[in-house]
């Protein structure tokens, strides 16, 4: 059997007390007081964030846990459409300019940053829309119109290079229809292999994962696909069918969290879990949200920057949770 010295070129140090966690990252040491081997690694968990000014669900969202934005959706009681927009600074939410009608409503898809966000597709009081709108950190302006009127696409990318995959279209419901945005106009692209809506998306315009979603009345989907800028490829499915959760990260370090799980019809079990994707496999994270939720907002270009704000079940909440990590000294075990 190989020794640690043979593998890593140095011996394991023996110390009577643990070094600070920040000094021990990536190292292994033997604590002679507790007679245990220890190391320091990032340990993640969800913690509470600032409460929204307006409790709501079915929102669009963008940004990350230190510079987030949510917009649109329904306040209590459903369906009471709103265009209310709020920015998050990592501790509190501030109300800013309302998203324009008809993007004031349920199911807008959001991508981008707090200071450069994009909202597209929704079902507002006036019905479904093909509008998009751009937020510049202080106000909303009209973006290019999509080719297809829809809501609840899987979104990814940034304001000037976005993608909206699959969607709900009045009449046919679940559709594979997908489009990309260049900052001024939308272009229809190859549709996803699986027709769906209310799925989760993360990544960029040229490297995106679209996963989950539903195709009523009974199908809550696990199907997942990767977009490489020109075609969709089926990848490993989610551990369970999920829709109306959120996604964050990249195609090699991504995640989805929350949502309505399976079996969802006629029941609607709501999830508090986070499922990580490493480019080939989904795995359930030990970190869970304290409160199960769906129909909420939360994004990030990195899997470690995600947040969850608002959502249900039942009465919409104003609560926010942030996925946060910190270096922590841990005792090594054989299990």
């Amino acid at each position: 059997m190989s020794t640690y010295k043979e593998l890593f070129g140095k011996y394991v140090r023996s110390v009577s007390s643990d070094p600070p966690a920040t000094n021990g990252e990536g190292q292994i040491w033997y604590n002679t007081t507790s007679n245990t081997f220890k190391t320091s690694t990032q340990v993640f968990a969800f913690s509470s964030g600032g409460n929204l000014n307006t409790a709501r669900g079915w929102v669009g969202s963008a940004g990350n846990q230190t510079a987030g934005i949510i917009f649109g959706g329904s306040i209590n009681p459903y369906p009471s459409f709103t265009g209310a927009t709020e920015e998050y600074d990592g501790s509190s939410w501030t109300s800013v300019s309302n998203a324009p009608s008809p993007l004031s409503g349920i199911g807008p898809t959001g991508v981008g940053l707090q200071t450069a966000a994009l909202s597209f597709g929704a079902n507002g009081g006036a019905g479904y829309t093909n509008n998009s709108a751009e937020y510049n950190g202080s106000s909303w302006t009209a973006g290019g119109n999509m080719n297809t009127t829809s809501r609840d696409r899987s979104g990814a990318g940034i304001q000037t290079a976005a993608i909206g995959a699959n969607c709900y279209i009045v009449g046919s419901q679940a559709e594979p229809n997908s489009e990309t945005y260049n900052g001024s106009s939308w272009t229809a692209i190859t549709g996803t292999g699986t027709a769906r809506y209310e799925g989760m998306g993360f990544g960029t315009q040229t490297a995106m994962i679209s996963c989950g979603g539903r195709n009523p009345p009974t199908s809550n989907l696990t199907a997942s696909e990767e977009w490489n800028g020109s075609s969709w490829t089926a990848i490993t499915g989610l551990p369970q069918g999920t829709h109306k959760g959120q996604g964050g990260g990249t195609t090699t370090d991504g995640c989805v969290f929350g949502g309505v799980g399976s079996p969802y019809y006629p029941a609607t079990p709501v999830l508090n879990n986070k499922v990580d994707y490493d480019g080939s496999t989904w795995s359930i994270s030990p970190a869970t949200m304290s409160t199960a939720r769906a129909y909420f907002g939360g994004d990030s270009a990195t899997s470690s920057g995600i947040y969850a704000a608002g959502g249900g079940p039942g009465t919409y909440t104003d609560a926010t949770e942030e996925f946060t990590g910190s270096l922590t000294v841990q005792t090594l075990t054989t299990s």
Binding site: F46, Y78, T291
Partner: protein
């Protein structure tokens, strides 16, 4: 000793529960501001520090049930078109 503490507490926002709290004890929130907390010393201290009001499991379940029932009744009153978009809230059974 039971595995969990049941009660109600108002989520005050940032730092209502921290990352370290989540690592120290089980914590799950439910409609009606109901919380289920791992019954260890740190969980009990956290709940007390948040002004939590202890309930029996049955009392806590009744609060959640009332919230979900109200949400279900609200959903049942929607039009078919509105129902087709949203999903009827499910009953929740506390651990």
């Amino acid at each position: 000793m039971s595995l969990f503490i049941y009660g109600t507490a108002t989520n005050t926002g940032k730092n209502f529960f921290t990352r370290q709290d989540r690592l120290d004890f089980f914590l799950a929130g439910y409609p009606g501001s109901v919380w289920v907390i791992g019954n260890n010393e740190k969980g009990a201290v956290w709940f007390a520090s948040k002004g939590g009001i202890t309930k029996t499991k049955e009392e806590a379940q009744a609060i959640v049930d009332a919230e979900i029932t109200a949400a279900q009744e609200a959903w049942d009153a929607l039009t078919d078109s509105q129902k087709s978009i949203s999903s009827r809230p499910s009953n929740i059974v506390l651990p």
